[in-house]
């Protein structure tokens, strides 16, 4: 009897060990395979974490794309297998008004609401709301920053003067010319990549990166005091304390002028 029980326990332990070994290997692979911090996702894609949970890898968005911008990751692409992505330098997103790629998504990995706006109580598609990524200018390799006249990215931008605008700066080298510099405003940039596609340098000097890679975050403790709406955030807050030091007791004018003999 004891022998039987032992046999049973050992075989159970064996099964559990096989499952655990397999599970650990499998988990280790998946954990690496799903990490792709530099991947650019289709319009309306949820945050990468949620996107990786939801995407069922059916390719319906890829099939819907009329420009073949979107592609499905195959083995060898070094991207999470079967998930959609795009390479703007090769084929950018042309920002179709009717957004054919988002509605076919069966699981909601692409979120229709994120590219929908209300107009007179009706829901309408608005592709400019999408945030696939954000363009970043490499100011050392952008020839406009050298002082050569180039506005290829600016002209290519579908949100010209909003997502990319030109800033004028004096050309110190010649002393008599202006530089016209492309600057990206992340508040408007959709990440479509038409700028990267248009860039004339050998390797694009303007590149689309995932927003959470490229953009920082200020945090809540800075307040734009000059903006009424931001200043309002302070209303009702309790934790504000003014630190009083011997110097701050006096007004700045007093403090600065102290000890100076004006006579």
């Amino acid at each position: 009897m004891d022998q039987k029980r032992r046999a049973f326990l050992v075989s159970m332990a064996q099964n559990v060990a096989i499952a655990a070994t397999g599970g650990i290997l499998w988990a280790a692979y998946i954990d690496e395979a799903k990490a792709a911090p530099l991947i650019l996702r289709p319009p309306g894609a949820r945050k990468e974490r949620d996107f990786m949970s939801l995407c069922i890898k059916c390719g319906l968005c890829v099939e819907a794309c009329p420009y073949d911008t979107l592609r499905l990751a195959k083995p060898g692409d070094h991207k999470p297998l079967g998930t959609p992505y795009y390479i703007p330098r090769e084929v950018p997103c042309y920002m179709c008004d009717d957004i054919p790629c988002v509605p076919p998504c069966p699981t909601g990995a692409l979120d229709i609401d994120s590219v929908t706006r209300k107009e007179n109580g009706k829901k309408v598609f608005d592709i400019t709301l999408m945030r696939m990524g954000v363009a970043i200018v490499d100011i050392k390799d952008c020839i406009a920053y050298w002082g050569i006249q180039c506005d290829a990215c600016y002209r290519a931008c579908p949100l010209l003067d909003k997502a990319i605008y030109m800033e004028m700066r004096r050309n110190e080298r010649t002393g008599k010319h202006a530089k016209l510099l492309p600057v990206v405003d992340p508040d408007y940039c959709t990440g479509c990549g038409l700028c990267e596609h248009a860039c004339v340098t050998e390797i694009a000097a303007i590149k689309v990166l995932p927003r959470d890679v490229a953009l920082g975050k200020v945090g809540t403790h800075y307040v734009k005091g000059w903006q009424g709406s931001d200043e309002n955030r302070l209303k009702g807050s309790k934790g504000i304390k003014t630190t009083v030091t011997p110097r701050s007791k006096k007004s700045p004018v007093e403090s600065l002028n102290e000890g100076i003999n004006f006579e």
């Binding site: 499998w26 988990a27 949970s53 890898k57 390719g59 890829v62 099939e63 079967g82 069966p106 699981t107």
Partner: protein, 272 residues
């Protein structure tokens, strides 16, 4: 000719079904046919009806994500179809990997490999462990765990959207089934096959054995990819009741004595 038809009618039907589905999907991607778009993970039938792999949707559920209605409706449609009618027919009439493993099996028989090969014993319940594990890993890692490694998806997506290095997965399965373990992938490991075995356990269409006709030639067991389901051969007249039966119909075709045939489950009868 009629003899070939008699001996291979289900096999021919299955190949037509498997290839026709692939052609429709490929047409959906390359030429914009609106018959079947997407792939086996999730598709759109006639541009309207959503279809989804219920196993994939369950894995997505396990990640804790809230799945949109289309995928849920699609998964319900597919589940109902296989639960009521299809049984585990997905494996033998739809799945593209079936053609790979069938080829390996054919060569195994032709080259008489079973006689010479070193034999490993492996439980056919591994697939259920893999299935259970896939839900645990999906929960822990926040992504559908089997979908990221599935050779079925790799093969099917590869044919529709471009193969990349996907051929390596197909080759691995082929070699595994040919030289390492008989019916290794489809009959032991594949959790999707396990899933459909459970879903299709009580479907309507079943193979039935007529014991008095049986001459115990055992051709059926030789050709069956899940031969444990034919435990009643030569013993008892009854339906092949185990969910693991893929309803491929090979046993029906190879039987020279009309001891096996397709029939409808008799729910009134005890034990069916």
């Amino acid at each position: 000719m009629s003899r070939i038809w008699k001996k291979y009618r289900f096999l021919i039907l299955r190949r037509i079904s498997q290839i026709a589905l692939l052609v429709l999907y490929v047409g959906g991607n390359y030429w914009g046919w609106k018959v079947l778009q997407g792939n086996l993970s999730s598709s759109s039938l006639l541009g309207k009806i959503p279809l989804a792999d219920p196993y994939a949707v369950l894995q997505i559920f396990s990640t804790g994500a809230i799945v949109a209605a289309d995928a849920i409706i699609g998964a319900v449609i597919i589940t109902l179809f296989y639960a009521l009618i299809g049984g585990r027919a997905f494996c033998s009439y739809v799945c593209p990997v079936n053609m790979v493993t069938d080829l390996a099996n054919y060569l195994r028989r032709k080259w008489k490999l079973d006689k010479f090969e070193k034999k490993w014993w492996a439980s056919r319940n591994i697939r259920y462990w893999v299935m259970g594990l896939s839900f645990v890993l999906s929960f822990l890692l926040g992504t559908a765990a089997f979908e990221l490694v599935s050779p079925i998806s790799i093969t099917h997506r590869g044919i529709i959207f471009g193969m990349g290095f996907g051929w390596a997965a197909i080759l691995a399965i082929f070699l595994f089934d040919l030289f390492i373990l008989k019916n290794g992938w489809c009959g032991h490991i594949c959790p999707l096959g396990g899933f459909y075995s459970l879903v299709g356990r009580y479907n309507l269409f079943r193979v039935r054995h007529n014991q008095p006709n049986c001459t115990l030639c055992m051709k059926c067991k030789e050709v069956c990819p899940e031969k444990e389901v034919l435990y009643m051969i030569g013993k008892k007249s009854q339906i092949v009741d185990m969910g693991e039966c893929t309803l491929c119909g090979r046993c029906v075709e190879v039987c020279d004595d009309d001891a096996l045939y397709f029939s409808i489950r008799d729910f009134a009868k005890k034990g069916e």
